[in-house]
Structure formats: C-alpha cells, structure tokens
C-alpha cells in the first residue's frame, strides 16, 4: 500500500490481516514499531482521537502524519 507519511511517500508492507480496502491504524503503527501512547496521528489532515485508533483505517494514497513531543520553547 502506498502512503505519504510525514511528507514522504512510503510503501507499507504488513503481513497482518487487513480490511479488504485498507490497513488498521494499530497495524500501521506496529509496522513502524511505534508506541501509540507516545505519538499523535492525523490521516488526511484529521487528527485521530486516541480512543478511535482501533477503528481507524488507512487506505492507499492516504496522507498520514505521526508526531511526538520534542524539546522546544518558542519558534
């Protein structure tokens, strides 16, 4: 499946069972070995609520952002 993740195109390979027309967000995060607690995720510009991760699905061509907190005070 081709996605744009954090601004870069990526080919996602997951051996997990996936809905016919997409990939579950938890599976996507696992494929990157990401701890869901430490990030926020947006799909096509919409931020996904933490309690909605289970139901969230990414589809071919989606634009996904995955962010974390970093040290910073001002611009």
């Amino acid at each position: 499946m081709r996605l744009t993740v954090n601004g870069k195109p990526r080919e996602i390979a997951s051996d997990e069972p996936a809905p016919p027309d997409g990939l579950a967000l938890p599976a996507l995060l696992r494929s990157f070995d990401i701890n869901p607690k430490l990030v926020a995720v947006a799909i096509n510009g919409d931020v996904i609520a933490k309690d909605a991760y289970g139901a969230a699905v990414v589809h071919d061509g989606d634009d996904v952002e995955i962010v974390r907190m970093v040290g910073g005070g001002a611009s």
Binding site: D33, A40, V47, V67, V70, G71, G72, G73, A74
Partner: protein, 257 residues
C-alpha cells in the same frame, strides 16, 4: 503567605515557566527544570523519525508527574499550520492547553497579530485553553482577552535574543488594562530582566534560551527562580518611586564639627 497564580482554573505556586529547547543534554534539561522550581513546561510538536521511532529525547528523562505540560505551535508560519499542530499537540500530550505561536518571519521570529487572533478564535471554539504569544501591542492583547484567551504572552524582545525587556513601556500598558494573567515571553537574558518583568506587575515569565544556553544551566535556573520571586515580592512590597534628585538616608543635623 499565599500568592499563587491561577490560569484557566489551574493554580501554580511558581511564576516561572520553562521551555525545553536548546539544552546540551537530558541531564541539563532535568537539572534546570528541578532548580527552577517551575510547574509549567512547554514542548514543541514535531514529526516522528520513522526510521528511528524509539529514539529517546531529553523529554523522556523528565518526571512528568512534577510538571504540567504546555504544548506549543512553535515553527508554525500560518494559521492552518498552527491549528493542525495544536490539535496534534492536544492528542499527544492529552492537554487542551496550547501556547499559540503564528510566526511568519524567520529572522526576528515576530508573531503575526492577524493570524494569531484568527487562530485563537478557532482554537477557543474547539475548546482549547489558549495562551497566545504576541508582540507587546496593548490593543491586540485586549482583542485576545476579549476573544477568551486564558492569558496574553507579550514578548520582551526577539526570541532567544537575550536583549531583555525592550517593550517595557507597552507591557506596562498591557498589565494596566489586562483582566487575564500577563506572561512575559521571549527576550529575557538575565535575572535582572526577569525581576524587572515581575516588578512592573507581570504575573509570570517564560524562559528558555537564557537558561538552556547559559554556561551552567542549572545554576542559572536557580538564579532565575530567585529573580522571579524577588521581582514578585518587590511588586507586592511596593518599591520606592524613582526621583531625579537625591534624598539623604542619614540625618542632616548633628554632624560633629
């Protein structure tokens, strides 16, 4: 005695807020936070490095049970970027507070008054507690207060410049008119700057570079803590007026001759 600061219903014993950027090591970050006595710490939101998703940052060494986190929109140049980053920050931190920055200019990092107000109105409608970073413009500060912002955060001088409170006169006017807490953000370079901000009646100050880039950040953090307390106590203690002439502090009469 009790002289606590309340912002949007949350009460703070410390009037010194800290940024977490530019530290040389996690040890310096943790040491400075502890020495400063701060209770509110701001963080930036950035894309995860997907090739090294497990890499630790200085933030992973902070005992977050001791500090409230304040996600910021640092780096956002437009209203849309700020809205998106604010929403992501709320999701990752679990806090609906946001230090709002809309900063188009890369050299002086001065905030956009128009974009900041627009973004604030949108975020307030979405239930955020908004702490906007602004130029020291008293009329803009009033607009943001009336829109429902929890504080206004006027700049003393350019971010990271360490030039101190160049906008002293305007900040005094903002404080005189404000009905929300006024937090002086950006420009503080030394404890004397922090003390001055508090002496004129600011409710708090936010400091990052002056501590993070000091030769000894932990020692400087403690110095800033004392300076903020000193300035606040001086404001409460009622400083003497400045006079253009002298006033003897010893009796004029009775000198032996």
């Amino acid at each position: 005695m009790n002289d606590r600061l309340t912002i949007a219903g949350k009460t703070f014993g410390s009037r010194l807020f800290l940024g977490t950027g530019k530290y040389a090591s996690p040890e310096e970050t943790v040491g400075a936070l502890e020495a400063s006595g701060t209770e509110l710490v701001t963080v930036a939101i950035r894309r995860l490095d997907l090739d090294n998703p497990g890499t630790k940052t200085e933030l992973d060494f902070i005992d977050w049970s001791r500090y409230s986190v304040l996600p910021n929109t640092a780096g956002c140049r437009t209203v849309d970027e700020a809205l998106f980053t604010a929403r992501l920050g709320r999701s990752v931190t679990g806090s609906d507070w946001v230090k709002l920055e809309v900063i188009p200019d890369p050299k002086y990092l001065l905030p956009d008054p128009i974009g900041t107000l627009h973004a604030a109105e949108r975020l307030l409608a979405e239930g955020f507690v908004v702490l906007p970073y602004i130029h020291a413009d008293p009329v803009l500060a009033k607009h943001l207060e009336e829109a429902g912002c929890a504080t206004v955060m006027p700049l003393g001088s350019a971010i990271g410049s360490g030039q101190g409170i160049l906008t002293l006169h305007e900040i005094k006017i903002i404080i005189e008119n404000a009905r929300v807490p006024v937090v002086v953000d950006a420009g503080i370079g030394a404890p004397s700057d922090a003390a001055l901000a508090m002496e004129i009646g600011a409710d708090a100050v936010l400091i990052n570079t002056a501590i993070a880039k000091a030769t000894d950040p932990t020692l400087m953090a403690g110095a800033m803590r004392k300076a903020v307390e000193a300035g606040r106590e001086a404001w409460r203690a009622g400083r003497i007026a400045s006079k253009p002439y002298a006033s003897a502090s010893s009796p004029l009469e009775g000198v032996a001759r």
